[in-house]
């Protein structure tokens, strides 16, 4: 187990370093930082002074290492647009996107686990096919169209839910559904496959033979084992949701990280863009690392590979 943790951890670290290198590259490609800091009208002398001051004349590798050092001490630079530290800008917006992501994940899990179980109980039946249809729709419906359909139906027609902002829990309902619905196919599929396997296993047959009633067997014996891979999928999907909330946040005017990213890209505020890419990627790497270690702890067979 120790060997597995070290190997898996080293890989995660390497991936994080590569991502940091790519983010640094994005920032470098985005233009001359000295000119961006000095402003359009600044004289050539001032720009040269800034360039020297911030070490922008140094070799790229030196600049990268310095940037990395600052990054590790929590300094992500200054936003061109807000003029405040990027970490501060991010910290303000992050709670909204996190709340949205967690609610979306909850919605996806609550919708798809029962669907997966029902489909697995009678593979090939009409109910299985309906579940298949729902999963197929989840993949094909463009997120932004789904948002507008919901806005029209629940926001305007019935006027049940607010259509923009993020002040109350009601504001999160439609965005969370839109974001979570895209993840339901993955969850449904993995639950269904896990349940079919578990229901055919010896321990389920033994439990049935001992006279345990079917609902108990399904929910207690089979489901518990089928849920193990769901944890991994949840880690991956949560990472995707954080990155994918851009469209939804702009439609519902929720000022989270996604909206911030869109704004920052439009305004050429690349210190912020780079920080968001880096943060979302890091969260993804940490989540999948945790899920892998958890799985290895539960299932010894994984460690040997």
């Amino acid at each position: 187990m120790a060997g597995f943790i070290v190997r898996r951890g080293a890989l995660a670290l390497l991936v994080l370093l590569t991502v940091s290198l790519l983010s640094f590259g994005l920032l470098k490609v985005s233009g001359d930082l000295a000119i961006a800091m000095a402003g359009e009208q600044a004289g050539a002398e001032y720009v040269a002074f800034l360039r020297k001051q911030y070490g922008l004349d140094d070799p790229l590798i030196v600049q990268y290492l310095r940037w990395l050092g600052r990054l590790l001490s929590g300094d992500l630079g200054i936003s061109y647009y807000f003029g405040t530290p990027v970490t501060q800008v991010l910290a303000e917006k992050f709670p909204i996107t996190m709340t949205l992501g967690v609610s979306a994940l909850l919605f996806a899990v609550v919708l798809s686990i029962p669907l997966g179980i029902v489909a697995a109980l009678r593979p090939d039946s009409w109910i299985d096919r309906v579940v298949l249809g729902v999963a197929l729709l989840g993949q094909a419906i463009p997120t932004f169209w789904l948002c507008f359909l919901m806005i029209l139906l629940f926001g305007i027609n019935f006027a049940w839910l607010p259509i923009s902002g993020s002040t109350t829990w009601a504001h999160y309902v439609m965005p969370a559904v839109a974001l979570g619905y895209y993840a339901t196919p993955a969850f449904t599929r993995i639950t269904r496959a896990g349940m079919i396997e578990a229901l055919a296993s010896d321990y389920v047959r033994t439990a049935r033979a001992k006279g345990v009633r079917r609902p108990v067997v399904v929910l207690k014996h089979a489901l518990r084992n089928a849920l193990v891979p769901v944890v991994s999928v949840a880690a991956v999907q949560f990472g995707f949701m954080l990155g994918g909330s851009v469209v939804i946040e702009t439609i519902f005017a929720m000022h989270g990280v996604g909206y911030l990213a869109w704004q920052a890209i439009s305004q050429n505020d690349y210190p912020v863009v780079q920080a968001i890419v880096l943060t979302v990627a890091s969260i993804y790497v940490m989540l999948t690392l945790t899920a892998d270690l958890l799985n290895a702890a539960i299932d010894p067979r994984i460690r040997i590979r």
């Binding site: 991936v15 790519l22 298949l132």
Partner: protein, 296 residues
């Protein structure tokens, strides 16, 4: 490799044996028909609509489409807020969608398949490098990175395709790699190697043809993915630029009118939805047709 990513990387339109055969064939026919209709729409755009997608006529703004009681037979799908013919814009938008779909996959498939062949065939250190590349790619948030790069270097259609291709090759790698691992010890591969075939010949002539069916599914899946991503980029104002027509851009242009003229959003929205469903159904059906032919 990490189990977390393995579980989700299998082509996800596959439900294996859960769909009866007759249904799958129906999928091939329905999906193929939708795809064919959209391709014909794109190819025949200038002949299907007498209007240009760019010509504005402010005296004919926001005419309703025929199914909502539009009274103008010259504009079957009505006109937008600038009086441009909506049918013409839909047809030219189909061109963009298909070009992005086919173009992206044409670029991303060679990258992914090559990496997958190398990793699966040589194993060990080569495979480690390939899987490391896949992990890096997976950790990058697709929408954000695509937006950032397109915002930086420009939004011409070729750039959009290249950026999307640079982000959508991972599934090709994972599927190719795992299949090559199963195939490399099979008799026909060993026989070719014993007969003196080079690694390249074995990979291209013996192994690659056997991957056609599963890779078809990945290709269709990624094509649908690319189309949805282009629509999202254009919707956010960083993809296809006005006055060009893209379904995502059309939705963006109509979003302020969602309360009054919701059909302006629903027509391109439904078209995207139908095209993606069609591509997915077609891919699943084609895979089955191919694997039956090969007797697998």
């Amino acid at each position: 490799m990490s189990t977390a990513s393995d579980t989700t990387l299998v082509p996800s339109t596959t439900w294996g044996a859960s769909i009866p055969r007759a249904w799958r064939r129906r999928g091939l026919v329905i999906g193929g028909t939708i795809l064919l209709i959209v391709i014909l729409m794109a190819l025949l755009a200038p002949w299907l609509s007498p209007h240009s997608p760019y010509d504005q006529d402010l005296s004919k703004r926001l005419i309703a489409p025929w199914f909502l009681g539009g009274q103008d037979p010259a504009h079957l799908l009505g006109t937008d807020h600038l009086g441009r013919d909506y049918l013409a814009r839909m047809l030219y938008g189909a061109r963009v969608a298909l070009m992005v779909g086919f173009g992206t996959v044409a670029l991303s498939a060679p990258i992914g398949i090559t990496l997958g062949l190398l990793g699966g065939y040589y194993g060990r250190r080569v495979d480690l490098i390939v899987m490391y590349l896949v992990m890096v790619r997976l950790s990058l948030p697709v929408v954000l990175v695509a937006l950032a790069v397109v915002g930086l270097i420009g939004s011409e259609l070729t750039i959009i395709m290249a950026v999307l291709a640079g982000l959508l090759w991972d599934r090709f790698v994972v599927v190719t790699r795992s299949l090559v691992m199963q195939l490399r010890e099979r008799e026909f591969v060993l026989a070719a190697r014993a007969a003196g075939a080079s690694d390249f010949a074995v990979l291209v002539r013996e192994i690659l043809p056997n991957l056609a069916a599963p890779l078809t599914v990945v290709a269709t899946l990624e094509m649908a993915n690319a189309i949805l991503l282009e629509a999202a980029l254009s919707f956010l104002g960083l993809g296809v630029k006005p006055p060009e027509a893209s379904w995502g851009l059309m939705i963006a242009e109509a979003k302020d009118m969602v309360f009054f003229e919701s059909w302006l959003i629903n027509i391109p929205g439904f078209a995207l939805f139908a095209l993606v469903i069609g591509i997915n159904l077609f891919g699943d059906g084609l895979r089955d047709a191919l694997s039956i032919e090969r007797g697998a």
